[in-house]
């Protein structure tokens, strides 16, 4: 992984910033909500105390009835048309209560508007049995029909049943059965409507004709001879007390609580008997922050569904916190809307009087203030984070690019310096005060030392030969003088051997100083135009004379190869390569010399069969005093190829060596004139 990617990865750490911000927002939101809860709790407590003063307004608890025996009279917002349809009721279908019927669930609702009671019942009945005019709407009659009865009582005095049975769909008459007998009741309006799979009934009754206790009974029969089955909203013989909003408590609540607070007062069973105020419906944030809204929704603690905070459509508040309050404990709870993200804090407090729990006060408040506060913070956070992340990532990327470019430049420069042998050249970043600068300086010093060492090696041969020349002159001149002295045979032998040794030494010394002489020649060499092909051919003939135990082949496609340079030096180069080729090949081998055109100019090659070059010393092959030869000739000083490279470089060309099938090839690339 390169430096740029590494730093980019590091820049991802800035994403910690939004995380921390989100944590902060979440914490803030929770803290604010808790504060609001506490405040609401205190208010709810106070309200509960206030409500406790109106204890006579709360329905009396009657242990004879169960909660399910009671009917809730929903306060209607408008007067429904009695036409057998529920859709003009201001209630949702959630307000419909269910009873188990023979053919399917029976759904019904009881509403209250302007001292009038409205009844809606929908019955699943696969076989509706209508009555006829003669038939009496009686439980114990000889003829049975499908019918709906509203049981009303005012214990312990009255017990009446108002029965609805249809001769045909449409407006129907209803009958009132009391202790006084059965009579049709003209104040009641009812509409019977057939539906696929059953029927539905809507009825309007003056509240005055009904008692405090109400219940619903549905008779379903398949046959006039059969009494059928009875589905009832109450379990006992008589229905439980009906519950309705207390207008007095409602007025009190209205005085106490205004929007954006919502107050609900329940009785001891959780039935809603007063409600006031409303939660703010205002959407706290515009569409512009839609994204922020969604992010916010993901960020904050999810709560219970906000719909649960709404007043229960059945009329009875059944949320846990309300039940808990009815057990005597003030309990807070909170809800969150998925769409708007806003939270609703709710607190239920018990209303107690004389040690008895009369009911509960439910106080709710939206957290619009918190939301808008945190939303604003969130939007700012998102912006700042985005900018910061981009800034940091961009900066780091730029920095990484800059840094890696410096390092790459350094490495390229170092390699170039090594390749071009310009080891003293300044490397990039040498003046920088940082680690890259240090690296550059260390590189420079290593390269310089290497350069010094190379320079030392390069000059070693000529220095050595120079230094050795004087003592050698002493030896040879002494020997030459000695030859003029009278010597016996043995001494003559020794002197001759000493002369031979000194001669050999002289040749070695002169080979050692060859490189520096070639360098000198190169320094003031005047290029002359010549035909390399002609020169090579002529030289090749000389080689055939000198090296009688080798064959030479010449391969050249070019008619002539004009170039500019020093033919003498190039021949010297070829001498070195051929000498090398002869040394490494065996007797009778063919040394192939080639000349061809190349991209950059001309390429001269010398190929000889023989052992391959060792990989290990490939790069040093052309250095001074380096011999890759394995002990075949101990007099080899490793100067020949160095001289060859000097000459090639002096002509603006280069010298390469490669292993080929069964041998070695040396290639000299030369620029054309």
């Amino acid at each position: 992984m390169n430096l740029k990617r590494q730093l980019l990865l590091v820049s991802l750490l800035t994403l910690m910033l939004p995380w921390a911000g989100c944590e902060f927002i979440r914490e803030t939101e929770s803290a604010l909500r808790r504060g609001q809860e506490q405040m609401l709790e205190a208010t709810a407590g106070a309200l509960a105390n206030t409500m406790a003063q109106y204890d006579e307004e709360f329905p009396r608890q009657d242990d004879a009835f169960r909660v399910s025996d009671q009917l809730y009279l929903h306060e209607l917002a408008g007067r429904p048309e009695v036409d057998g349809y529920f859709d003009d009721w201001s209630l949702g279908t959630g307000s419909l209560r269910s009873l188990r019927g023979t053919d399917g669930p029976i759904r019904f609702a009881v509403g209250l508007f302007d001292q009038t009671i409205y009844l809606y019942v929908r019955v699943i009945d696969h076989d509706v049995v209508y009555s006829n005019s003669q038939a009496l709407v009686l439980d114990d009659g000889s003829r049975h029909t499908d019918r709906i009865s509203l049981v009303s009582s005012n214990p312990p005095y009255r017990y009446e049943t108002i029965a609805f049975a249809a001769e045909a769909p449409g407006k129907i008459l209803s009958y009132r059965q009391s202790a006084n007998g059965i009579a049709s009741e003209p104040t009641i309006t009812a509409h019977w409507q057939d539906t696929p799979g059953g029927y539905q009934l809507e009825a309007r009754l003056p509240a005055a004709i009904l008692g405090t206790h109400l219940g619903l009974v549905i008779h379903n029969t398949d046959d006039t001879a059969n009494p059928g089955t009875r589905s009832s909203s109450f379990s006992g013989r008589t229905p439980g007390p009906s519950v309705r909003l207390s207008s007095y408590l409602n007025a009190v609540a209205d005085r106490l609580v205004k929007a954006p607070l919502r107050l609900i007062v329940t009785d001891a069973d959780g039935w809603r008997i007063a409600a006031a105020g409303a939660l703010s419906a205002r959407s706290p944030a515009g569409g512009r922050l839609g994204v922020a809204r969604r992010v916010y929704g993901l960020l904050v603690e999810p709560g219970e569904n906000a719909a649960s905070a709404e007043p229960d459509p059945s009329g009875r508040e059944q949320q846990t916190y309300v039940s808990s309050a009815l057990q005597g404990n003030a309990t807070p709870d909170w809800f969150r809307s998925d769409e708007s993200g806003r939270a609703i804090v709710a607190v239920a407090a018990p209303i107690t009087a004389n040690g008895k729990t009369l009911g509960s006060v439910v106080l709710q408040q939206g957290t619009d203030a918190i939301l808008s506060l945190t939303n604003e913070g969130l939007a700012r956070l998102i912006n700042v984070t985005l900018i910061a992340t981009l800034l940091v990532a961009g900066t780091l990327l730029g920095y990484a690019t800059w840094l890696s470019r410096r390092i790459r430049q350094l490495s390229v420069a170092a390699e170039a310096a090594l390749d071009n042998e310009s080891l003293q050249s300044a490397l990039p970043s040498a003046l920088a005060g940082d680690e890259v600068g240090d690296l550059s300086r260390s590189f420079s010093s290593v390269l310089k030392q290497l350069g010094d060492y190379n320079e030392y090696l390069r000059s070693l041969a000529s220095k050595l030969s120079h230094e050795l020349r004087t003592p050698l002159a002493i030896v040879t001149s002494s020997l030459e003088n000695l030859e003029h002295e009278p010597l016996n045979d043995a001494s003559v032998g020794y002197t001759t051997r000493a002369r031979e040794g000194a001669d050999r030494l002289r040749r070695i010394l002169s080979a050692m100083s060859e490189a520096s002489r070639v360098e000198e020649l190169m320094a003031d060499f005047e290029p002359e135009p010549f035909d390399l092909r002609a020169v090579l051919e002529s030289t090749l003939n000389a080689y055939r004379d000198v090296y009688k135990h080798r064959s030479f082949s010449f391969d050249c496609d070019l008619g002539e190869a004009k170039m500019s340079g020093s033919p003498e030096l190039l021949i010297q180069l070829l001498d070195k390569l051929v000498e090398n080729a002869v040394d490494f090949s065996g007797e009778g081998d063919t040394i192939a010399i080639g000349l061809a055109a190349s991209d950059s100019g001309l390429e001269m090659s010398v190929t000889n069969p023989g052992p391959p070059l060792p990989e290990r010393m490939r790069s040093q092959l052309f250095d001074s005093m380096v011999s890759v030869r394995a002990g075949k000739d101990s007099r080899h000083l490793g100067l020949g190829l160095y001289v060859a490279r000097l000459i090639a470089a002096g002509h603006g060309g280069r010298l390469d060596a490669d292993n080929v099938e069964g041998g070695v090839v040396f290639r000299v690339s030369l620029p054309r004139s």
Binding site: A473, N481, S510, S513, S538, T539, Y543
Partner: protein, 230 residues
């Protein structure tokens, strides 16, 4: 008359060896180890030939200085540099100062003796009238083997002893290729390829100085050189 050779050489062993060799040949030898004593002695009497080392103890360029002063004093005095310094630059510097030959200490005593003898012979020849039989003429080239002078298009070409012998060897049999070994033998020296190349280059340059269209010395690549006559 016995010739007197002065040798200025800081290396005692070499100095003594050369001195012994010169004496054996019948020369009178004065040996000096530094520039100052040599100059002092030359004040009173000039030798007939001087052999100088360039590097004289701490006096790194002492030989050059000495050569310059001697040449100022005696234009005809043969001066030979005999030194361990084999660089082209030093050789050119030495010859430019008016030395008659520049030799490295590689040279064998017999070769050195041959050169000294040749120089003395030339000195003698200059004092005699020019002898026709010692002249070789090859077109524009005239070689006087006695005086060891060469004229091209009747203008003298200032060649060193080595250069003279090289041209002489080449021009004697025009058209014949002389290989490096033959040239070395002719020049009474052991020279390597590069030195011969430099010598030939220098010879060509000297002829070109007189005649810009000079091309009588031809390189036969891989073989040697030959003299082209028209």
């Amino acid at each position: 008359m016995t010739k007197r050779i002065a040798i200025v050489e800081d290396e005692a062993a070499i100095r003594d060896n050369y001195a012994a060799a010169f004496r054996r040949e019948g020369y009178v030898v004065d040996a000096y180890e530094a520039r100052a004593p040599a100059l002092n002695a030359f004040e009173s009497r000039l030798p007939d030939l001087v052999v100088i080392d360039i590097n004289l103890k701490d006096d790194v360029e002492g030989g050059f200085e000495l050569c310059r002063e001697l040449r100022a004093r005696a234009a005809e005095l043969p001066i030979i540099f005999l030194t361990a310094r084999d660089s082209e630059f030093d050789a050119v510097s030495g010859l430019r100062l008016g030395a008659d030959d520049y030799l490295t200490k590689d040279i064998s005593l017999p070769h050195l003796m041959a050169r000294i003898a040749a120089l003395f012979r030339r000195l003698d020849a200059l004092q005699k009238p020019q002898a026709a039989e010692s002249r070789i003429t090859r077109g524009d080239l005239v070689i006087d083997t006695e005086r060891m002078t060469i004229h091209w298009q009747e203008q003298p070409v200032g060649l060193t002893l080595t250069e003279f012998w090289l041209v002489h060897a080449l021009a004697r049999y025009p058209g014949h290729v002389k290989n490096r070994q033959q040239l070395m033998d002719a020049a009474q020296a052991v020279l390597d390829d590069n030195t011969i190349t430099s010598h030939v280059k220098r010879i060509r340059r000297k002829f070109l100085g007189i005649d810009p269209s000079f091309d009588a010395i031809e390189t036969v690549y891989g073989m040697g050189y030959r003299w082209l006559s028209d």
